[in-house]
């Protein structure tokens, strides 16, 4: 489902030296797999996820969704590919404060041309599944962190994207809410979705298809794949 080859990313600090973050990273994630990428803060986990989700450009390397060479697309076409293929869960939730919980979820469908009563019904179902249906008319500032992340998860899966990318999805949550979100991600993979999670708490996501660690700009253990049990 997701294939990346030779991803390189370097940041340049203002008036400072170039800082290499990723140095030729290869990734393969198939449908039904949950891949966890662990690493210390600043190791490049989030950068990797941004490159995989086309949220920023790599200095070198290529990304494919299914068999589509998406990193070669223009800006608008890449936006379209993101809408069709990818759902994102962010550490800081990134809900729009001016929209209700329900409208935040439905927003995902708007840009892929799927808005309508059916979409709203599906959004309500997802909120129900995640236990936040009764808060659907509340605005993000009126929700707890755990509730916001559940809403964000619903937004990420509303379009039923084949690929789910989660950046520290439990980083701002207590154990109970982290458990809910991790479970939802695992169920997503079990239902046939491809899921990539970057986290500094990999133990929260096992069992996983594979757990990698980023060190010195490379994925340690790749291309080793194994079922990782708790």
């Amino acid at each position: 489902m997701l294939r990346a080859r030779g991803l390189v990313k370097t940041y340049r600090a203002p008036a400072g030296p170039r800082i290499p973050v990723l140095d030729g990273v290869d990734v393969d994630v198939k449908a039904g797999e949950l891949v966890v990428v662990a690493g210390a803060s600043g190791s490049g986990k989030s950068t990797l996820l941004n490159l995989l989700g086309l949220l920023e450009d790599a200095d070198a390397g290529d990304v494919w969704f299914a068999d589509e060479h998406v990193s070669a697309l223009g800006r608008s076409a890449r936006s379209g590919a993101r809408g069709r293929f990818v759902g994102f869960v962010f550490q800081s939730f990134l809900l729009l404060p001016s929209l209700t919980a329900l409208d935040n979820v439905v927003l995902a469908a708007r840009y892929v041309g799927r808005s309508g009563p059916e979409t709203r019904r599906r959004a309500r179902e997802l909120l129900e599944e995640l236990g936040v249906a009764e808060r659907h008319e509340h605005y993000p500032p009126q929700l707890s962190g755990g509730e916001q992340q559940r809403v964000a998860f619903c937004r990420a899966v509303l379009n039923d994207p084949p690929l789910l990318l989660a950046d520290e999805p439990t980083g701002n949550l207590d154990d109970a809410n982290a458990h809910v979100i991790a479970g939802a991600l695992r169920r997503r993979a079990a239902a046939g979705g491809a899921v990539v999670v970057v986290t500094h708490r990999p133990e929260a996501f096992v069992p996983a298809t594979a757990v990698f660690r980023i060190e010195n700009g490379r994925l340690e253990g790749y291309p080793l794949k194994k079922e990782v049990a708790p």
Partner: protein, 394 residues
Amino acid sequence: MLGPRLLRGYGFTVAGIAIGVAGLTALGGMSERIVRFIEGGDRFVLGQISVAGRGLGMGTGFTAGGLLPASAIRAIAGVPGVAGVQPQVMLPLNPTTSQFMTLTQELVLGLDLSVPIPNRHYPTLPVRTGRFLSGGDRHVAVVGAAFASSRGLDVGARLTLEGETYEIVGVLDRTLTAPDRFVIVSIADARTQWVAKDPMLRTVLASGAVPVRAEDLNTGAAVGWRTGEDPDVVARRIAERVAGVNVQIPSELSRQLRASTVFFSALLTGIAALGLVIGGLSVANTIAAAVFERIRDFGVKRALGATDAQLGREVLTESLAVTLSGGVTGIVIAIALGRGIDLWISRGQQLFLFSARLLAGALIFAGLLGAVAALYATLRVVRLSPAEAIRRGA
């Protein structure tokens, strides 16, 4: 989905735009007021040939000059091309005020109602309540809107002029030019007031040194021309054929009037330019700031798959809704402010004129500027990667 909630979160933006548009509209309202006054005067002088007796005299306004006796009026009426001559007496209500025509001078205008008003642009003066004067009226007056308002006068009220009591029989519509401050009476009444106001005239008349009849007591005359005649040519013809008169050439008087108001023209140009700059900068800055403030939201939307075109349409729709809401609010504020100030300064003054063209112009200007500012800001935002937009907005 977003319709009813389009403006949520934009409260400060709408307020910012409202302030800008209110400033623009208020300054524009003052400009419109001055423009209307100048245009009204210009239209008046181009509608008639104004003639006064040669000399310094007592008159004021368009009839400032010496005495214009009945013989001169008959001679003017006989000039080829002249369609009608209306003797007039125009006096300052308060003789201590300047003889110069000013924005606020109150005048007594005596009209010979046996002759139709010859002014082509003002053949009648619009009456708001009551009636206009008719032939044979004595000790009655029609007053301008500002004059009535400043003294709380209405039809049926009494007004004392030079010791004589006049009944108000009509109040004119507001014209925003000179007639707003007129007290219009019959010419016979105006002649009586003239004599009462001017000790020198009384002395001359009492001495019997000069044979003057009542019909000779005119400060000037309004002269009309026949259809097809060039008013300037007719005016020059009067000057050539009638001795002892000052004839105002309509086009020259218009030029003089415009020259005398050049300061006001420059002032209102400056006010309008200032309004456009202040209001425009306020609107553009507020909208651009509102877009940049939501940079994280745009990053999220692009992460969700929004294309540049989708985002552009969305921002444009929101900015137009915000700008128009702010614009309408600003206009309401400006009108309320203008009305409040006009009421506060009282005395029938009107400093602001909120014409339809001004209000429509302010709204269109704000909308266009808001759209351009939003477009500029959006182009800047979409150039960022979604990740960068999210980072910068965090």
